[in-house]
Amino acid sequence: MLGFKNIIKQLKSFLIEIGELSIFAVRYFKEAFKSPFEFKELLRQCYNMGNRSLLLVGITGFIIGLVLTLQTRPTLMEFGAVSWMPSMVSISIVREIGPIITALVCAGRIGSGIGAELGSMRVTEQIDAMEVSGTNPFKYLVVTRVLATTLMLPLLVIIGDVIAIYGSYLVENIKGNVSFMLYFNQVFDALEFGDILPATIKSFFFGFAIGIVGCFKGYHCKKGTEGVGKAANSAVVFTSLLLFIIDFIAVFVTDIFYDL
């Protein structure tokens, strides 16, 4: 009975949080289209997020490409279908693995960073100081960061995808003596517009989710250093969950369009 009550309590607080996050997101859209626009801060955030995540996304993509090829190769060889490797790898990376892995890496790297940064600013009254000085902190801190993650994530996904496919090519080149031209010809033959577009659109939503949750957690951080830690931690946990939900919805919607 106690366990059931606990589940109800947790579900209630989860739903309240979803409601508060929705209000926060609505405020974002209201503020994003109102002047003054913080272009300088937006560019700074884009540079910070893109540049600082590039190495991590690149390494992760490269390893994913290597591992995927190494683990799939024996099975494909068994069926005499190893020539399908470029198609299989490119489609699976572009459609699904690339966006979701890049988004998860960025949720850890960027989402937690935003949560901790804004949380720390809230606790040390920097956000209040900004408001007292006549600057809208929501616009300066939240709108710029969410817009930066929304714009930068698709770029990071594209870079991650290219590096992952290159990693796959390296394995094929070493194990199967496949040339660069042949491998990438097959990749481009296999990939269609219908593979790339939904994945890119999905990446924008992933970027938005990372930014909005990180900002929400940091902006509403409870007092104290413990609050900052919790904000950073829950930003990652909540975003990761949200990414899979968005991914499911995106795949579901894409599937409907494929059937038409």
């Binding site: 940064e117 920097q126 209040d128 900004m130 006549g134 600057t135």
Partner: protein
């Protein structure tokens, strides 16, 4: 005629009437009243958790009071829209308890930040460099202009925060525990600095503190915030001579 009588004849720049603020069942302010006169140093003292910081945050619109009126330079801030409030805020300086310097910006950028939204006050062609240097010179820290806040000591941070407050040339400065967390010597330096600024610019100051020495040195008038109300009002000498046990408790050393 006493100094107190002289001050009370001046214009009222800030007035709170019957201010109430609660957090659930916790009634922090229960009808608090106060008046700040032009050029006055008014100290508000109260125990930790008595609602001093809540009151000062209601004053600048960082928190919304449950009821009561807040009149800042004859504007009822509870009735102002965001833009009008932001314009009014250019005339109010706020020194935060923990300095609240922006970590990711240099001292120069910290001081330039408030100017970007208040170009109307100084004209479009303001020379921010001169203003920043002048503000830093006022607090004796012109050499720290390119340092990051993490490179400053606690006292230096407080002085830079004071310079940031001064850069908008406010008419009223609100100090939230200006000497808390500082050693006695640095605290004394900050108090002297506050007095110098008041003399130089003729600002009105509202000082929230529980530092009796700070209150003794700087106050023209004091209000004791007890049980959410303005329990006692008077000069330091008047209040420190009181026989009321609740008032006496503040002045015990």
């Amino acid at each position: 005629m006493t100094e107190h009588d002289n001050i009370s004849k001046r214009d009222i720049v800030l007035e709170l009437k019957d201010l109430h603020k609660s957090f659930g069942d916790n009634h922090v302010l229960n009808g608090f009243n106060m008046q700040l006169f032009q050029g006055e140093n008014l100290v508000i003292m109260g125990k930790s958790g008595s609602g001093k910081s809540v009151m000062i945050k209601c004053l600048v619109g960082l928190m919304e009071a449950d009821s009561g009126t807040i009149s800042l330079m004859h504007n009822d801030i509870t009735k102002l829209d965001q833009e009008a409030l932001d314009i009014l805020r250019a005339d109010i300086g706020f020194l935060f308890q923990g300095s609240a310097l922006y970590d990711s910006m240099t001292v120069r950028e910290n001081l330039e930040f408030p100017l970007r939204r208040h170009t109307k006050k100084f004209g479009e062609h303001i020379d921010t460099e001169i203003m920043v240097i002048e503000a830093l010179e006022n607090v004796g820290l012109a050499s720290a202009i390119d340092l990051m806040p993490s490179e400053l000591s606690g006292g230096m941070k407080r002085r830079v925060a004071l310079a940031r407050t001064l850069i908008l040339q406010p008419k009223i400065i609100l100090y939230d525990e200006p000497t808390s967390g500082l050693d006695p010597i640095t605290a004394k330096e900050i108090i002297i600095l506050m007095q110098d600024i008041q003399k130089k610019y003729g600002t009105s100051s509202l000082i929230i503190t529980h530092d009796v020495d700070c209150a003794r040195v700087i106050s023209d008038r004091m209000i004791l915030l007890i049980d959410g109300i303005d329990y006692a009002v008077g000069t330091y000498a008047e209040l420190s001579a009181s026989t009321d046990p609740k008032i006496k408790a503040f002045f015990k050393h």
